[in-house]
Amino acid sequence: MANADCIVIQGSNMAECHPVGYQWVAEAKARGAKVIHVDPRFTRTSAVSDKHIPIRAGSDVVLLGALINYVISNDLWFKEYVGAYTNAATLVHDDYRDAEDLGGLFSGFDAGKGAYDTSSWGYAERGEGAIDEPGPGSEHGADATARAAGHSYGSGGPPLEHAEVQRDDSLQDPRTVFQIVKRHYARYTAEMVQDMCGISVADFEYLVRAITDNSGRDRTTCFAYAVGWTQHSLGAQFIRAAAILQLLLGNMGRPGGGIMALRGHASIQGSTDIPTLFNLLPGYLPMPSAGRHDSLDEYLATIGSKQQKGYWANADAYTISLLKAWWGEAANADNDWAYDYLPRLTGAHGTYETVMGMLDDEVEGYFLLGQNPAVGSAHGRMQRLAMAHLKWMVVRDLNLIESATWWKDGPEIESGELRTEDIETEVFFLPAATHVEKAGSFTQTQRLLQWRHKAVAPPGECQSELQFFFELGQRIREKLADSDDERDRPLLDLTWDYPTDKHGDPDPEAVLAEINGRHLDGPDAGAPLSAYTELRADGSTAAGCWIYTGVYADGVNHAANRKPGQEQGPAASEWGWAWPANRRILYNRASADPAGKPWSERKKYIWWDQDQGKWIGDDVPDFPVDRAPGSHPDPSVGGPEALSGDDPFIMQADGKGWLFAPKGLLDGPLPTHYEAQESPVANALYPQQQSPARLVFPRADNPSAPSAGTKGADIYPYVFTTYRLTEHHTAGGMSRWLPYLSELQPEMFCEVSPELATERGLEPYGWATIISPRSAIEAKVLVTDRMVPLKVGGHTVHQIGLPYHWGVGNNAVVSGDAANDLLGVTLDPNVQIQESKVASCDIRPGRRPRGEELLALVAEYRERAGVTMETGNAAVTNPSAEGVDPTLED
């Protein structure tokens, strides 16, 4: 990032949320790089940027689309790069129809299911028709949503049957990706940006000039985003839009380029790599689904076709090695490597579905492991009411967080909805160990594993999760030891024999070694694997997470590598260990031109050394190291062997960067602007208001505010956006208990513009009540010129900023109302992340009412707005304008 010439921070408040990461931006800026911050609020990041461009929350695709349009129509794209490394020249299926033609829908929308059949988005095959998706039959978008399919591609693209595609290298065929992209964004203009995002034409031109002036052979632009993008009903598409722009400008896989995800938590990357996520197994292998993955063969066929290019073609080796790691001898060729020990999915079982399952009394027991959903999850009220339905719950945390004490001092106790004496839930609070009281590895945002050594023993009864779950597993296995029930076999056959120290603490290095994997047969039996390329599908290797293979190569904990940064080169490859294979920049083959030479001396990173016959440079090449630039193997061989010398995107099924996504996304192959679930603005681009494929939950306890153009929209006239502050940590479990952090931001507040304060009579630093269809909260008012009303679609849009760190309880040093109580649950269909960055509300002066009156206030607003369960939940906004038979709508 320090190598970038221009850095666009959008959807992230980087200086505020990642102050230490921001040093690299500061360094780039000191060296002359331009830093532009695009954000609804003027934040601490804006304060140290060259320019802040205020944007209406949720309109990012319009802006990015307009940048794409500008780059294409002004011929500013990086032709050599785009031609060689992207799928620009690939032809798309004949049946494909763009959202431009269907009023905002792409071809294949099933209004009945509220989801796409994505088959028409595929590539045109050589010969005729589209490339079939692998595996048995075609999967419907609705089913894929249920698997949160988008999440499964964390390490690469979705599968294609093979990579023999039709191309038109002149890019002139209207069916080429390039022409489709060009047409799709033709109406995304500077004027549209002004109308929809509230960004002036001058500011847009400033931005576009900064980006295009700083892209090309010699220069690179970097985008940084965080949850400001992901927490939207089209979150994945925001990122895709930036990726398209970056591919067109040739900024991917190159130093100082790319799109940097700024993740919020110490090991949030790790917790998707080794997922505590319902839809994934370690290494982005999907959890099997009933009906789709009923046998190992079916399962493997859907992950990666043997005929596709790149490393996903070896998914069989990854899967079987995982099964061997978990079930050892019990996993053998005869029982399909214990594949049937794996439970099956039948739909979405994400955290919000789980909460609804609790409300329906389907879930009895709940573990909260360092998580505070009563404050930190969207629709906090629903979270707490759901917990009151549980039979038992285990809260493991450092402090007595609100999710552990809601039965005693939660807002619903105060409002009278719940009575402590009536709540049946058993609550176990188990104190946890801090990061210095246990050893283990975190994976940071750039996929770097770093080991923490244990400094002291945990105090009192505090325990690490490792020890707790190891012990819990042991107890459960002991209690079931005599069971002859077949269902208990997976538990009893589980490899669960980690060495422990004298306190019964399992050795985390032993776990890491299991994750890394080892040889089971042959001369090296027992020896650690050193790379995932050593994994085999014949049961001769075991590895708990294939992408981490190599972290324990030669029996050395490479995550603990600590060669001081000042003693190494810029890639610092001897500090920690980055997956895969210790690479610091992914797809870095793209940092050299098709002939293997660096694009420029200034941006040199990985290049082909003709004499040595291999790729060399500052980093580990993310490419078969001896694959010459000009080589063109027969694509039909499949796997890594099929990669051409100019296929840098080795985890994509065709080795190319995807401008157009023929597979993998459930809400459209190209990012398209839709309004948020709740928006006071009508979609000026299409009759379709919201993303048609977004996941809605029409329930009485999850009402939505009416959007622009429908009755009652003026009852919730303002947009609010939630965010965090430097001084606090998410739901506050690790900050509101610390006096030093609490005193820095002691009270919940809302940020409003002076105009809005005048309009609503809000007193500076007095109290205000913010009301959404779900709840009402109170906050101190911070009137500031950092909030600017935007002129959008002919009227003024006021945005309200709400930090979400506070919660209602008696135990923390500081407490306050929780912003997340205002939010409802609407999810991105690709990844099932909720929309929490934008929603509708009203604001008025004074504190909120207490007790039953609070509920009455919220209900009164709903009534005035005419909110029903259907409000805002139609998949298709205007069926006749979008070519959909209205009778198909539910």
């Binding site: 200086a15 505020e16 102050p19 230490v20 921001y22 040093q23 500061a26 000191a30 003027f42 601490r44 990041t45 804006s46 304060a47 140290v48 940027s49 060259d50 320019k51 802040h52 400033y206 007595l400 001092d409 502050l725 430097t726 001084e727 006096p739 030093y740 952090l741 609490s742 005193e743 820095l744 931001q745 002691p746 009270e747 507040f749 500076p764 630093y765 101190k780 911070l782 500031t784 010129d785 950092r786 008696n810 135990n811 923390a812 040093v813 500081v814 407490s815």
Partner: protein, 333 residues
């Protein structure tokens, strides 16, 4: 008695027989991101208690308020519109022009920063200033001069430090500081939530209550050749630490740099050894007038006038004696 005002080396003045270079901070507020890591790192290292009432102070994101007995780093937040930015740029330009008397209209000399290309940089219609304040460790330190017990002393690094075991809390130093830095610590307590489980009843007593407290420039770290906690934590190097001379040099380069970019609002604070406190050990780069940040515009160490005061007092004493004599010499009238 050492020198009371004007340029000097305070360490030599204090009769240290060694050659430690004087240490100091350079706080470059133009790159401060207002994260307050300095405040926390400082408290953590020095075990300073929480202070304040856990309420919004009504000053943007600043809920610390000011430097004090338990807050030795304080980050100020100032929101400004275009008018004020223009004024700041103008007042900065006026500073540049100071001491460059000209006859007639200014010569079109492009190398003169005051006349350089001053096309305003991009974010000009609004700005949010952040600045981390700290003890100035003055060359002529008012607090140190007026301390009657010798609790405050000049270290071998040229810094000013309180000896906690000597100070008797007379409070003279508080009034003696022209920057409002040093303060006597009250025995305010670490405020905790109303209901806690029994084992948390005990809270550490506030250390050093009743005595004067301020930044020590991490004297205990300096003697171990360590960087002060705030400078070490600062994510963007807005707080720099090093030899005082080098810091002043860096500061001068930085301000010249910013002027060259047309940012004439940038100015240094404390880098002039001819000022009222003989220059400060902690040098700042500010983007507006000092009072905007809560800093005095023309501080002067009160002791600089001490000789005058003693003379005047002597005169007064003489007058008093004369009056008494007169009263008696009038005889038994």
């Amino acid at each position: 008695m050492g020198q009371l005002s004007g340029p000097t080396d305070p360490t030599t003045d204090a009769h240290w027989e060694h050659n430690h270079p004087r240490k100091g901070f350079f706080t470059d507020t133009s790159i401060c991101i207002g994260c307050k890591a300095c405040e926390v790192a400082c408290k953590e290292w020095n075990h300073n208690p929480q202070d304040g009432n856990l309420e919004l102070l009504g000053s943007s994101y600043d809920n610390t308020g000011s430097l004090g007995a338990s807050t030795w780093r304080h980050v100020a937040f100032i929101e400004q519109g275009q008018e004020r930015i223009t004024q700041a740029r103008e007042s900065g330009r006026a500073l540049v022009n100071l001491g460059m008397p000209r006859i007639g209209p200014p010569a079109p000399d492009s190398s003169d920063p005051a006349e350089a290309d001053t096309t305003p940089p991009d974010t000009a219609d609004f700005r949010w200033l952040m600045s981390s304040d700290v003890c100035k460790h003055c060359t002529h330190a008012g607090c140190l001069d007026v301390c009657p017990t010798g609790a405050l002393f000049r270290t071998e690094f040229g810094t000013v430090v309180v000896q906690d075991d000597v100070c008797n809390g007379c409070g003279t130093c508080v009034a003696g500081c022209p920057f409002g830095v040093i303060e006597r610590r009250s025995n305010g307590t670490v405020k905790v939530a109303t209901s806690r489980e029994d084992q948390h009843d005990e809270h550490p007593a506030v250390p050093n209550a009743g005595i004067a407290q301020k930044c020590t420039l991490c004297y205990d770290r300096l003697v171990d050749d360590q960087t002060p906690a705030c400078a070490k934590a600062c994510p963007t190097t807005s707080i720099k630490f090093g030899d005082h001379d080098a810091m002043v040099e860096t500061a001068k380069e930085r301000v010249a740099d910013l002027h060259a970019k047309g940012l004439t609002e940038a100015r240094l604070y404390g880098a002039n050894e001819n000022d009222g406190v003989g220059g400060t050990g902690s040098v700042f780069l500010l983007l507006d007038e000092p009072e905007v940040y809560g800093l005095p515009p023309d501080p002067r160490v009160p002791t600089a006038d001490l000789p005058t005061m003693y003379r005047r007092a002597g005169l007064a004493v003489a007058g008093m004696a004369a009056a008494a004599a007169l009263a008696f010499l009038g005889g038994r009238a």
